[in-house]
Symmetry: C3
């Protein structure tokens, strides 16, 4: 019997329902859909890092990374990254930000698989990302 | 060699194509996208539990649970729940129904990760949910 | 420590950002979102197999299969297939093409789970598919 553990970085805002920002069981780690919310601050509702795709993409990736780290994983363990955008015209810019982020992280040559689709998101949010990692 | 087995609760309507409502292989269990269809009845086409978000959400969760049980799993084994809604204005109501459902199920303190996005669904359907579980 | 390896069939077009068409680690294989692009040809930008749902669905399935094969897997190892369509009216036609494809492949009686939702995709693309496989 392997325990499932919730991964809840102290910096993260409280989820809007009964779910965890991440869970880990055995060697599988699942990151819930992250958006570009700034670290939680007492008395402040969840607040995006800014109105731009750049600000939100970088904050979203940082939020995913914090959950990976909470579970003892790194980007190198990530198998799949799901990117949800609201606007097809954001694809090229998101890719440029994404590439620069992972170059700065020194990611090895075999990055994760990825799917990007265009959906609706709550007002003011331009991007959401979730991830599946396999550790060990 | 581990066999992959199809999980097909007797209550479920026949999938509209060659796929299974769920599959299990080793300790991984994947639930296909479930909607709020009532249990199958001979001669009746797949029929939603009702037109409201509440009726469809509760039936959808019951349909996911039936597949988990068919595979010997429970909600506690679920790592990831993907919720697809058609209307951003349904988020708060879905969360309230979702929370009440899992409270009634007595879910442990480490629930699954979750991603919610807003997409198109077939006419009359307001919610679809799939899930990934890791057993053992 | 199990290595994560990138799966990059020689026929595939270069991804538009730092991600892999597929990755494998241990017994988990993840296929990135595939679309109906023809095999790569030098000097030609990524080009869909045709404008129709049929052409794109068959090419997309072939592209998924090539990645599975690159990782030593087959359709029988696939647990989950995610289908993204742009038009709800394409559902029945996609299912017919999908069924015929898998009948021709001689798929065993326990096919994968599946979720189909309707989203936005880049201009000219009608379908995207990704897949999760568990080997062994």
């Amino acid at each position: 019997m392997t325990d499932k553990i919730a991964l809840t970085p102290a910096t993260h805002t409280t989820p809007p329902a009964k779910f965890s920002h991440g869970v880990k069981k055995g060697n599988i780690l699942q990151v819930a859909g992250q958006v570009g919310f700034l670290p939680a601050a007492e008395g402040r509702p969840p607040t995006p890092a800014g109105p731009t795709l750049r600000e939100q993409t970088l904050q979203t990736l940082a939020n995913v990374q914090a959950i990976l780290e909470e579970g003892g994983a790194t980007w190198d363990d990530v198998m799949m990254i799901r990117v949800y955008l609201t606007d097809i015209d954001h694809f090229a810019e998101m890719n440029a930000i994404y590439n620069a982020y992972f170059e700065a992280e020194g990611l090895k040559e075999a990055p994760a698989a990825r799917t990007t689709v265009y959906v609706g998101l709550p007002k003011g949010l331009l991007i959401e990302i979730d991830a599946l990692a396999v550790l060990g």
